[in-house]
Structure formats: C-alpha cells, structure tokens
C-alpha cells in the first residue's frame, strides 16, 4: 500500500508539468460542456477528441481524456437540476431531487450540492483505486452471473421507492419500461425480437433520445402552461431575480451536515459498483439513491432533498473512478467510454491488459494522479460557472420553450447521428407527457429501462451456464447473503403494512 502511494507521488511529478496541467484543465472544461449538453456524453467527447491526442505522448493524452471523462460526470447534473433534463443517464436520479430543489428557490445550493457530492465521491473513489489498484479489479471479476443478477434485483427495488401514491400505476409504468427496453437485438441469441419487421427497431429504442424525450421534451410540453403565470409575475414586478453570486449559492453548515453521511455511504458503495464489469456510473448513482431511501432524509426524497442529490451524484462519480480499476488492471472497459479509451491506448502503442501496471507504471500512475488533479480543477470550474448557469433560470419561460425544444432535437440527433434518434425522442416525449397527465410517474420507467436489460442478460447467462437450474442463485454464502438482502428489502414494506393492519384490527377489537 505504501508502495502504491510512492508510485502515486512519482505520478504527480509527471502531471505537474505545465503542458500536462494545461491539457488537464482543458479536458476538465470540455468535459463539463459535453456533459451538460443533453445528447452529448463522455462517449462522444472522448471518441471525438481521440484523434486530436495522437500528437501528444500517451501520458499527456490520457490525462486530457481522463479529465474529460471525469468532469463529464459533473456536467450531467447541471441540466438535470436547472431544466429537469438529465445530461446523461447517471443524472436521472439527480434530477429527481435536483429539479424540485431548484424550483424551491435554491438552485445555487442544488448545484453546489451536486458539485461537492461529486468531488467527495470522486475523491473517495480515486483513493480506493490508489490503495487497492489491481486487487479490487480481481475481486470484481469473481462476481458471476448469479451474483450480478441478485445485485441488479437489489438495485431494482429502488424503483419501488419512486412509484408514488398509486402502486398499481407504478407497476404498470415499470413493466412498460422493461418491455420497451426488450425491443431490439437479443444479445444472447443474436436474433432481433419485437422489432415488428422494422429495420430501425432491430437495434432497439436508443437510450439517450428516450430519456431526452420522456423527461426533457415532456417537460417542455408541460412548461407551456406556466408561461402565462411566469409572464405576469415578471410584469407585476413581484418576480424575484435569482441571486447570482457564488457566495449566495454556498451551502450552510447545516446543509453540509445533511450532505456528508449520504455522500460517504454512496461513495463507498458506488466505487464497488463501478468495479463490477459492465455496470458503470448509472448503476452507481441509482444504487446510491436507492440506498439513501433507506436512511433518514430531512425532507422527503423526491421533493428537493439535499440528501437525494448528494447520494446520486457521489454514487455516480465514485463509480466512474472505480471503473478505472478493471480498465487499468485488466484491460477491461466498464463502459462504452472505457472501450474508446482502450482503443486509444492501443493507438498510442500501449498494450492494455493485465500487464499494463508492470510494463507502463508511469503511464498508469500518471493517469491515477491526474484524476486527483482533474477532480480539483473540475470542482473549481464547476463552482465558478454556477452564477452563469443560474442565469439560465432568469430566461423567461416563453423563450425557454422553443430553445429547449431545439436542444432536445439537436441532442437526440447527435446521440446516434440519425433522424431515428429524433423520432424516438419525439414519440417518447409525447408518451411521457400523456402518462404524466394521467398521473403515471415516469422515473420508474427510466430506471427499469436501464436496469432491466442488464438483469435479463445476467439472469439468462446464469441459466445457460447452469442449464436452467434455479439452485445457481443460492449455492454460495455470498449469494445467500445477497438473496437475503433482496428478500428483506422486498418483504419489509409488506410486512410492515401487515403489522399495521393487525395492530389496527387489534386496537379496534379491544
């Protein structure tokens, strides 16, 4: 472990070169922009910057791309909080509390919470990465399909907390989300399913346009009703200009106290989730958010609670850091972005794989130390831009409507470079709007859409490997523990409800 820190120090020496600091900063700024823009994610950013970096030496290049990837995780929260449009999928859960908090008149604090939660979460993730380096990645590998299935089932229980007052509607919408996600190529058998002979549907409903539509565009359609009220408020002079300074966005001591416990919990869990192959930052933020539901929050979750933003954002960033462990130690990309980075490593003449730490220690440790630096830079930049971001909120709603509509369309196109993405966005926007009108919450649909395909894949792989035997889900201690956690999570609410019924019966009969 001490050895690791010594290597880290030498890594810092490499990073503290004016050129490296420069590209690190540039990467951080670009990453924030890309992350905040709906439709552009770290994948697009890294893929498109990759050719630019061929001229650099590999270390400088990875510092820039690492910083970009990393700061991108901050950016996703911005549009989620201010406009209720998640910039990327991990920000879905951030929007659940971030947007209500901004509406309550504390947009600055909401952004600040997101920034600090991201920072602390990221720092914890990177620290764990430094200490354990390759060991952690090997641990993650030992998770088989049955274990992953159980973890995903646990993550899925988070949906039940978002369902709202009508459970039936909640279940309907969750199932709908899962069915929509099942359209397209079935990875395990390699055949298209439910594509109804449509060549576009063969590839499935693309995810980012789907969220941009179901959350963003649906939001714009609703926003139109607030236009009149907004205008009158402005005319009558009762409109309070949102305060624009960083100082007024600062969190109070009390806010910090609320923020810290969820961040710590979520970061530890998030790092671990990030290490698991194929789970990634989205699962990190969702599991973090779900867990926070189990703890006390000062305000109810989903109504603008600091705890909610904190849990989601720190889960996201720590998972992003954790995902570097399998990438560096084993050459296994945890996500699409990881895969592009891996492609980059090969282009620079490095051989990513289990030997990277041994053959190119400079490179690995500079990357890890650059993550520390990138994290600090991004925090500084992210805090500095808050006043400018909040200006977005002072734009009259009547102007926001056409602007956001255009951003949704341009963003949806950019995710897949095709009009199909735009049409998916448009249709899911209308569907989201109609569902909302009828009192169906859309958040469960989005979570189900993300988690269900992973769940199905792992479950079916478990069945194939065990030739269809159910015992594969309970034949080791770890699996039994996971199964028990899952059952407890599922059964406690019903058990509690049952107890209440019995109690009330007793009290009436006595």
């Amino acid at each position: 472990m001490l050895e690791n820190f010594a290597s880290l120090l030498s890594g810092f020496q490499v990073v503290f070169d004016p050129q490296n600091i420069g590209v690190c900063m540039l990467g951080a700024i670009l990453g924030l922009i890309v992350g905040a823009m709906p439709g552009l994610g770290s994948l697009a950013g890294v893929a498109l910057l990759l050719p630019l970096t061929y001229k650099f030496n590999p270390t400088t290049a990875i510092i820039m791309l690492g910083a970009l990837y990393y700061s991108n995780m901050y950016g996703g929260a911005f549009s989620a909080i201010l406009l209720n449009i998640p910039g990327d999928s991990p920000a879905i859960t951030t929007a659940l509390d971030g947007y209500p908090m901004a509406k309550k008149g504390r947009p600055g604090q909401a952004l600040m919470t997101a920034n600090f939660a991201s920072f602390i979460g990221g720092t914890i993730g990177i620290l764990i990465l430094t200490i354990t380096a390759s060991g952690l990645a090997k641990l993650g590998l030992n998770f088989g399909y049955a274990e992953m299935t159980l973890i995903l089932l646990i993550a899925m229980t988070s949906i039940s907390w978002l369902i709202g007052e009508n459970p039936t509607k909640g279940v309907v919408i969750t199932m709908l989300g899962i069915l929509v996600a099942s359209i397209g190529m079935d990875t395990l058998s390699g055949v298209p399913r439910y594509n109804f002979d449509n060549i576009y549907l063969m590839g499935g409903i693309t995810f980012t346009p789907f969220i941009i539509g179901a959350v963003g565009f649906a939001q714009v359609i609703k926003l139109v009703n607030e236009r009149k009220a907004d205008e009158e408020k402005r005319k009558s002079g009762t409109y309070e200009a949102v305060k624009l300074s960083i100082r007024s966005s600062m969190l109070t001591r009390h806010d910090f106290k609320r923020l810290l416990p969820p961040v710590l919990r979520s970061s530890l869990l998030g790092t671990f989730v990030g290490v698991l192959p194929g789970s990634g930052a989205t699962t990190g933020s969702m599991v973090g958010y779900a867990m926070q539901k189990k703890f006390k929050s000062e305000e109810p979750m989903g109504t603008g609670a600091i705890e909610g933003i904190a849990a989601s954002e720190s889960g996201n960033n720590s998972a992003a850091a954790g995902a570097f462990a399998p990438l560096l130690a084993l050459g296994i990309p945890g996500s699409g972005t990881g895969a592009v980075l891996l492609g980059g490593l090969m282009m620079w003449g490095l051989n990513p794989g289990p030997l990277l730490f041994e053959t190119n220690p400079d490179f690995c440790w500079s990357l890890i130390s650059s993550l520390y630096i990138a994290n600090i830079f991004t925090l500084a930049v992210a805090v500095a831009v808050i006043p400018f971001l909040i200006k977005i909120l002072s734009v009259p709603i009547k102007f926001m409507i056409p602007i956001i509509t255009c951003v949704c369309i341009v963003g949806a196109y950019s995710t897949s470079y095709s009009m199909y993405g735009v049409i998916v966005m448009f249709v899911s926007g209308i569907v989201g709007y109609i569902l909302d009108k009828n009192g169906f919450p859309t958040a469960p649909m989005l979570l189900a859409f993300v988690l269900a395909p992973m769940l199905e894949e792992n479950m079916r792989k478990a069945f194939i490997a065990s030739q269809g035997s159910l015992s594969v889900f309970a034949d080791s201690t770890l699996k039994i523990v996971l199964l028990a956690i899952f059952l407890v999570l599922v059964l406690t609410p019903s058990f509690k409800a049952l107890m209440r019924k019995i109690k009330s019966k007793n009290s009436t009969s006595v």
């Binding site: 602007i403 341009v410 448009f426």
Partner: protein, 150 residues
C-alpha cells in the same frame, strides 16, 4: 348510487393492456417460453403478463374512481406540433435550418417576441449548434431534400 364518470383516463391502461397482449402473443409465436433454458421471449413474456394484470387492475380502479379526465390544452398541442414541424422540416430543408426557422416562427408568431429578443436567441442557438455540435463534435446534420436538388 352516484354515476361513475367514464373518461379518457381509462385509455392509458387499455393501451398498456393491448401492448402486453401483443408482447405475449408475438413472443410465444416467435420464440416460445422455455426450451431447456430461457428463450429470447422468456423475460419479456413474464413482464408482459404482470403488465397485463396490473393494467386491468388499474382499469378497474379508474372505472371506480371519480377523478376528472386530464385536460389537454391547446398550448401543449402547439409544442408538440412545433416539434413535429421541425422533424418534417429536417427532411426538407435540413435540421439546422428547420430548427432556426422554427425558433423564428415560434418567437414571432406565437410568443410575439421583440425582434431584439428573437435575434439574440437565433444567434445564440446558431452559435451553439454550429460551434459545439458541428465544428467541435463534427456532427453531420441532415441537409434535407433541397440540398440535393439545387
């Protein structure tokens, strides 16, 4: 007994129930359910059965309740039409042009915004789309029919 209102709220559960039935039927037809191991339709069919059951339950709830039908107003329809207009425009005059044209029409005709505000927004959006998406990210937006004709 008070007369129950049957209104447009029952549409959503009816539609989801139909979707569920389609997924069950198509799934069974194309893949079956379990053939020594789960088929491609195994998981969706289970989900569709749950969706069917809850949709029916939901329908019963709606029929019994007295809630009013949701109100869909004209303004909301305008936003949807605007979005649809841009999409059609993309195929004819290209994506960037139809976005900017839509902004112009929406701001001037629907919002009756001042020329100053309109121009600022047009320039801002053009800079955003061209600067970030086109030049930096090198997204090639569709240019529409006219580009080929001329």
């Amino acid at each position: 007994m008070e007369k129950r209102k049957v209104n447009s709220r029952i549409l959503v559960p009816i539609i989801t129930a139909i979707i569920a039935i389609v997924f069950i039927v198509v799934g069974l037809q194309d893949f079956g359910f379990w053939e020594g191991q789960p088929t491609a339709a195994f998981f969706p069919i289970i989900i569709a059965v749950v969706l069917l059951a809850t949709s029916l339950l939901c329908l019963v709830q709606m029929l019994r309740s007295n809630e009013d039908a949701p109100v869909y107003n004209r303004n909301e329809l305008m936003v949807i039409l605007g979005g649809g207009g841009i999409i059609i425009g993309c195929y004819i005059i290209g994506l960037i042009a139809s976005c900017l044209l839509y902004l112009l029409l929406w701001l001037k005709v629907i919002e009756k915004a001042t020329w100053k505000a309109t121009i600022i927004i047009e320039v801002f959006m053009a800079a955003l789309i061209l600067g970030v998406f086109v030049f930096w990210m090198q997204v090639q937006f569709p240019v529409g029919l006219f580009a080929y004709l001329m």
